[in-house]
């Protein structure tokens, strides 16, 4: 469903294309005053044409960003799109986080949320219109004041001009008068060829404040009299507190209180260090909890999942007759591909500051991708009206999905801490250590894939894939929408919809239920399915004696967007040239989140250690708003994916998470990071995602490059020490 259709359904916009003209959209913004709640008193002269924009008499333009800035550059992207319609330099727009309010709902989801690589395409028309309708009102205000025809006035760079009489008024000077103008029903938008701002490399609006350490992230937020809490949580998932002794913790200087909360025991101190020392001094006893008698173990889980992969599961796709085709095949290939649990590990650990209010409500200051879920969760827990709960969002020090928690885990826990310690009468910020983050669950699920493929007459005649892994939707508010006929769509995305024209194709799913909390992780199901699919395609190419690039081009004949990025990446990487001695090349192409990406990886193997020398990526995401940030996202996605390919993984032993910090959950470091060349394909196709699209294809391309360099095929991630000795 396109963003415009969604918008239309939601009653925001009515669109139509007029012959010979630009795209004309009708708007019904309702009141000219912002619908959003606002803690600040409304200044009467501030022009608020819609929920998103404010233009002050000083000329200052403020944009309330409906999407959260977690590094993807969306605040700059939104400003660019608004600036196109408003005819201003995007750098003159100040961007602030939106409050929790349905007016800022993600048009793809219907709730206020940032994720799924939806931000740019889902808000594009809405932001264009937000800027353009405001401009038209400003022009109307100027024309009225001058007693001239609005058609003879021109808006540029934050000013309205009437050339004939050589008169100029700034937007700020027009703010008050524009507030009295009925916002236009229909506004003409520029054609793509006329764009002045969209599509141009544009500096990020947050670079300077972030570099200088002035940007406020959740963990940086401070209020008068604030205390800091750390929570001791069970050492195993589902574990319960049996008893605790806080005597020694309370003796630590600076510790103010120790309270029991549903998730464990919170130690509240005058700062991080006292709370940290206090927590370490707690005497704690836990029980395994319901179903906890058999401790979880990754090796046992892998064996169990592998066993399940030999049995029929719920059917996600069934074309032709895969059983007959496999039995008739001249040759079959069977392989099992595995990926481990993965933590998001945003560089800024989680935190949430809670200020309880006398009326039973609260103000929460945090960094979340999920205001539309967290706000009602807090309202529900407190039993108050939505207006009594205020959220102040912050810059997010990385998200990757972790801050879009279906259970609002870190937000509700912080609320519980504040409620349990209400007697202190202080604002309390609950913070997570890195250990808490890595051991706290909500991982990308561990997956096992079994693929059996058949070859007949020199072609792939059958593909039978069974996927085994926990559902991230089960037990959440999204279960109804995400699970159909027993199949969680996010578990099979990238597999059940594979477009390779294989006549006999079956994809089945097992979703075992375990106590490990699981969640979306940058690129979600695709992070598993692309690895399995693209690896098997390369194994088939090898079996067929075909070039992996040529095989893909042939299989994707009817998919020009995939073919095109594949061709662009291959040509840029010099696929048809001989690689240097000892160097191997791997290639992949995958569609995810409405975006299309191809990767070529060059790698060598030194004493069993993979060295990634170069990554070439081509992307087609349709219209590009800010090419500089598309490049940054694709570079970052490649390196994010490399971490998960090379060394990273969460494993369980005796019910406990084995990893605790960056020494045993290794992120790629700068000396391991290759050059990443990004090629953005000029495209008239529908807009798509960016941030996650560059992740899925990396792992298989790395493994195929190593294979080409003479290593055995890697079928289990991370590669770790598998190629050593």
């Amino acid at each position: 469903m396109s963003g415009v259709e969604n918008l239309s359904r939601r009653g925001f916009l009515k669109g139509s294309l007029l012959a010979g003209g630009g795209l004309i959209l009708g708007v019904s913004w309702g009141a000219r005053r912002a619908q959003a709640q606002d803690a600040e008193p409304e200044a009467p002269a501030v022009f608020q044409p819609n929920a998103f924009l404010r233009i002050a008499p000083s000329g200052e333009i403020t944009l309330l960003a409906k999407h959260d800035e977690m590094g993807q550059g969306i605040w700059t992207g939104l400003a660019i799109v608004v600036a196109e319609g408003l005819r201003v330099d995007p750098a003159t727009i100040r961007v602030l986080p939106a409050p929790a309010d349905p007016a800022f709902a993600n048009n793809a989801f219907g709730v206020q949320a940032t994720g799924g690589s939806t931000s740019t395409w889902s808000s594009y028309e809405q932001m264009r219109m937000a800027g353009a309708t405001a401009r038209v009102a400003l022009v109307t205000a100027a024309a009225t004041q001058w007693g001239v025809d609005a058609a003879d006035c021109e808006a540029t760079d934050g000013k309205v001009r009437h050339a004939a009489s050589d008169r100029v008024l700034g937007y700020g000077e027009l703010a008050q008068a524009a507030g009295d103008v009925q916002i236009a029903e229909r506004v003409e938008l520029r054609e793509r060829a006329q764009f002045e701002r969209i599509g141009k490399p544009t500096p990020r609006q947050d670079s300077a404040v972030k570099v200088r350490g002035q940007a406020l992230f959740s963990l940086d937020q401070r209020v008068e009299g604030m205390l800091t809490a750390l929570v001791a949580r069970p050492p195993t998932f589902g574990g319960k507190l049996a008893r605790f002794d806080a005597a020694e913790a309370k003796a630590i200087p600076g510790v103010k209180a120790v309270v029991e909360v549903p998730s464990g025991v919170a130690v509240i101190g005058d700062g991080y260090w006292s709370a940290f020392r206090g927590r370490a001094a707690l005497e704690l006893e836990w029980t395994p909890g319901e179903g906890g008698d058999a401790p979880l173990d990754s090796d046992a889980l892998r064996a169990h999942f592998e066993g399940l992969s030999q049995r029929p599961g719920n059917v996600a796709r069934d074309d032709g007759d895969v059983v007959a085709a496999l039995s008739a095949a001249e040759r079959t290939l069977e392989a099992v591909y595995e990926v481990p649990y993965q933590a998001h590990a945003p560089m800024e650990p989680l935190s949430c500051l809670v200020e309880l209010r006398a009326d039973g409500g609260a103000k929460l200051t945090t960094g979340t991708q999920f205001l539309g879920i967290d706000h009602p969760a807090v309202v529900g827990r407190l039993g108050v009206t939505p207006e009594q709960v205020e959220f102040q969002n912050s810059y997010l020090g990385g998200g990757f999905g972790r801050r879009a928690n279906p259970a609002s885990d870190f937000v509700l826990e912080a609320l519980e801490v504040a409620l349990a310690a209400k007697d202190l009468g202080a604002p309390i910020k609950t913070v997570w250590t890195r250990e808490d983050d890595l051991q706290g669950g909500w991982y990308r699920p561990l997956f096992v894939n079994r693929i059996v493929a058949g070859i007949q007459d020199g072609a792939i005649s059958a593909w039978h894939q069974r996927i085994v892994g926990q559902s991230i939707a089960r037990g959440t508010a999204f279960e109804g929408a995400m699970i159909k006929d027993g199949v969680d769509g996010t578990s099979v995305e990238g597999a059940a919809d594979m477009p390779h024209g294989i006549p006999n194709l079956k994809v089945e799913l097992h979703s075992p239920v375990l106590r490990v909390p699981v969640q979306w992780w940058r690129s979600v199901g695709h992070s598993n399915t692309a690895f399995a699919k693209e690896s098997m395609l390369d194994e088939l190419a090898e079996a067929l004696g075909q070039d992996p690039y040529a095989l893909r081009m042939q299989l994707l004949e009817e998919h020009p967007r995939l073919q095109r990025v594949l061709r662009v990446a291959a040509e840029a990487a010099g696929w048809d040239t001989e690689p240097a001695e000892g160097m191997g090349r791997g290639i992949s192409v995958h569609e995810s989140f409405k975006g299309f990406a191809a990767h070529v990886v060059e790698a060598t193997l030194e004493d069993g250690v993979p060295r990634i020398r170069r990554v070439v990526v081509a992307i087609d995401c349709g219209l590009v708003i800010n090419p500089d940030q598309v490049e940054a996202q694709l570079q970052g996605a490649a390196i994010f994916a490399l971490s998960a390919t090379l060394g990273q993984g969460i494993t369980l032993k005796d019910g406990r998470v084995e990893q605790s910090n960056f020494h045993d959950y290794p992120l790629v470091r700068i000396h391991e990071a290759p050059a990443v060349e990004v090629h953005i394909v000029e495209s008239e196709e529908p807009m798509g995602g960016i941030g996650e699209v560059g992740v899925p294809g990396v792992a298989s391309a790395v493994c195929s490059a190593l294979r080409a360099a003479g290593a055995p095929r890697i079928r289990r991630l991370p590669i770790g020490t598998q190629l050593q000795g």
Binding site: G213, L219, S274, I639, H663
Partner: protein
């Protein structure tokens, strides 16, 4: 609790803190200087990098007593020195940041590197910056920004 004195970003500074408190929390919680970031607490990620007598150190692993009588610099004061200014300028001009959490620490490490190696090649950059993690994967732009800062400083020196 004990009293400590040091020079912070050029200003004489006194704090009261428990002995053993990492400088990271003295800076962030006691002094309210939140530009120095927490990322791991174990000197593994470099997000808390500051300068102690001009050397890059991890504030999460620097007990406050080790700062006694010493000269400290944090991101809030980095632009007061020539090399630091060039680094910050290059970081902004090159739009290095994504989420940005690690970037103050990256800049502190980069400035310390350039103070020691004015024209680092990629290998020297990798060696000097390997202690600073970036989850967003901004490494290609970090490398580019360090080269740019080095070039700008070389131009200035002519």
């Amino acid at each position: 609790m004990a009293e400590y004195e040091f020079e912070l970003n050029g200003a004489a500074t006194q704090v009261t803190a428990e002995p053993g408190t990492p400088m990271l929390w003295v800076l962030r919680d006691t002094l309210g200087l939140t530009g120095t970031k927490y990322g791991c607490g174990r000197a593994l990620c470099g997000a808390c990098t500051i300068h102690l007598e001009g050397q890059a150190v991890r504030a999460c692993a620097l007990p406050v007593e080790f700062a006694q009588g010493k000269r400290l610099r944090t991101i809030e004061g980095l632009e007061d020195e020539r090399v630091g200014k060039a680094v910050v300028d290059a970081w902004i001009a090159g739009d290095v940041v994504q989420c940005g959490w690690c970037q103050p620490g990256q800049c502190m490490s980069a400035a310390a590197l350039l103070a020691e190696v004015p024209q680092p090649d990629d290998a020297a950059i990798d060696a000097g910056m390997a202690g600073n993690l970036c989850r967003c994967g901004a490494y290609p732009r970090i490398r580019r920004a360090i080269h740019r800062a080095a070039d700008a400083l070389a131009q200035e020196g002519k």
